[in-house]
């Protein structure tokens, strides 16, 4: 790809709460190239979630430009944003956000349903994605039959299944114990080696270590933006992937 995958220029987000204007983002410029792994850090209220929502095409900036994969998206309507979320990126949330009473396989199939794929193709690709996160054997388990780590793996499979260029993860290890967290980060690093760009929002410095670039937000602006040699995530040997605690 010629340009950067993500290019934001002077974006701002202002919420109106009654009389008061809240400047969630004041002025942020950022460029992320394909294959990068970035951790966005900052205290609560620093604007990192707002930035993530905008970069994840869940929200639009009040001002400024956002080019995703070379396309200006800051002014797109809700339908076009939905299409981008479906085709170009995948989400991973802190609380997994899987559909309850729905099997892992069907959860992973969900984005493909909106992409309009046939049932056969959906199932094949969902199985492939589940195998990739090490849950090939648990396709028919429901979220309430799985551990937190396994549920997050299903969520990652769901993010992967559309073969996106970018994965946006919002505190993906926030609800997991440290050992499982390392497993998840190892999985992300492996995806990164396969060329997927990772945008990780976290407030844990431990987790940020695994990223190659750390952006620290404060009061709606970028406070620092540094590259680093990422620590390789090595899961503890007894933590067998897919095993319930």
């Amino acid at each position: 790809m010629a340009g950067p995958l993500i290019e934001v220029e002077h974006i701002a987000k202002i919420y109106r709460m009654g009389e008061v204007e809240v400047h969630a983002l004041r002025d942020v410029s950022l460029a992320i190239v394909e294959g990068e792994s970035i951790a966005v850090m900052g205290p609560s209220g620093s604007g990192k979630s707002t930035l993530m929502n905008i970069l994840g095409c869940l929200d639009r900036p009040s001002r400024g430009n956002y080019r995703l994969a070379g396309r200006e998206v800051s002014q797109l309507d809700r339908n076009a944003l939905a299409r981008l979320r479906n085709r170009t990126l995948g989400f991973v949330f802190q609380n997994f956000n899987l559909l309850a009473r729905t099997s892992a396989l069907e959860n992973v199939e969900l984005p493909l349903l909106y992409a309009g794929l046939s049932g056969r193709e959906r199932r094949a690709r969902a199985r492939e994605a589940l195998a990739r996160v090490g849950l090939g054997e648990r396709a028919h388990h429901h979220p309430n039959q799985m551990s937190g780590g396994q549920q997050q793996r299903v969520a990652i499979a769901r993010a992967l299944v559309t073969r996106p260029q970018l994965i946006v993860a919002d505190e993906p290890t926030g609800n997991l114990d440290s050992r499982t967290s390392v497993e998840i980060m190892a999985l992300f690093q492996e995806l990164g080696r396969n060329g997927i760009t990772l945008l990780l929002v976290t407030h844990e410095a431990d987790i940020a270590r695994y990223a190659a670039r750390v952006v620290v937000m404060r009061d709606g602006r970028v406070q620092s933006d540094q590259r680093q040699q990422p620590v390789e995530a090595v899961p503890a040997p007894e933590a067998e992937a897919g095993e319930a605690p």
Binding site: N53, L58, D59, R78, N79, A82, R83, R85, N86, R87, G90, F91, F93, N97, L98, L99, R101, L110, P111, L113, Y114, A115, G116, R158, T162
Partner: protein
Amino acid sequence: MSPFQVLRVAIRALLRNKLRSFLTTLGVIIGVSAVIAMVAIGEGAKARVAEAFASMGSNILIVLSGSTTAGGARGGFGSMPTLTWEDLKAIRAEASAVRYAAPQLRSNSPVVSEDQNWTTSINGTSPEYFQIRGWALASGSMLSQSDVDSGTKVVLLGQTVVAKLFGASADAVGQTVRIKNFPFQVVGVLASKGQSPMGHDYDDAVYMPHSTFQAKIQGGLQKFIPGSIIVSAASSDDVPRAERQIRNLLRDRHRVPVGADDDFSIRNLAEMASARQEGVETITTLLLAIAAVSLLVGGIGIMNIMLVSVTERTREIGIRMAVGARPRDVLAQFLVESLTLTAFGGVVGVPLGVLAANLLSTRFGWPVLLRMDIIVIAVAFSGVVGVAFGMYPAQKAARLDPIDALRFE
């Protein structure tokens, strides 16, 4: 997302809350079956009235003689004969909107068979009468013009008279009956026609040529018709024209001065029939309105539950939007859910309504008439209810902001 996929997702969502979905759809089931049963009852009543008027004849006008005034007591229409045989001929010849005209002479008298007797209405008329009434023979032959011309002593019997004189299943044709001591030969038996809209038994009557009637049963002046004239218009549209033509013709012939009252009266049975029909129509509409209200209430129930469902599933909506569901995908999903509820209500409601209609007809003997088009309309209307009442909740879901929806606890 293909329509089939949307439907599958909707059905799964509804099956999550089986009891709730069933109770919600129950309102529609009751509404649809009520519409079908009520319309069946209304249509049945309408058909019964129409049938009753059909046996009376169609497009009929009756011309009555004028009234007498004797010592201040006014005698009512028909009390003074003003209609002449020449009038009848003139109506036949000159009123272009008239198809048939026949005299109606009536008297009550006992009719005697070999071993039974029965007092019934004796009618003198001409062959046109049966054309006007639309009555057919069960057996034998009709009165003929030659019977009228030569005053033959022949009679046609109604079914009730046959039953009273000869027994229910007897064949009376060829038998002889005596009226006022004159022997009459039975040439035909009329097919059963049932009751008039006023409860008069059309089958309890004897018909003979009017010439014979005047000669043997009830005399009167030769010039005047001792009864009325029954007329049928060429078509239902011609009835008012026929009435006008007859009125002008008779006023002219009777030399009624301009501005004076008619010395005769014309009754329009078609008007009476349509008044009755309108009455039944009103009742049908009323029943349908009540049933439609119950369908409406069912729709409100659906809207209520769909609103609850949207709120409950806010998070699910957020997840779907995050992975790429467009607002219209969400709209479609909830709309199809409410449509599925009403469609199910329609599908179950139709046989239930048919069953209710049949039950009413067998239990209470109410005439019911199931109309296919009403069934189709009822089901279609329940679909409309589904869309109409599902639209607001579905739009509410589609307008949710994905970020807020994901945060919803």
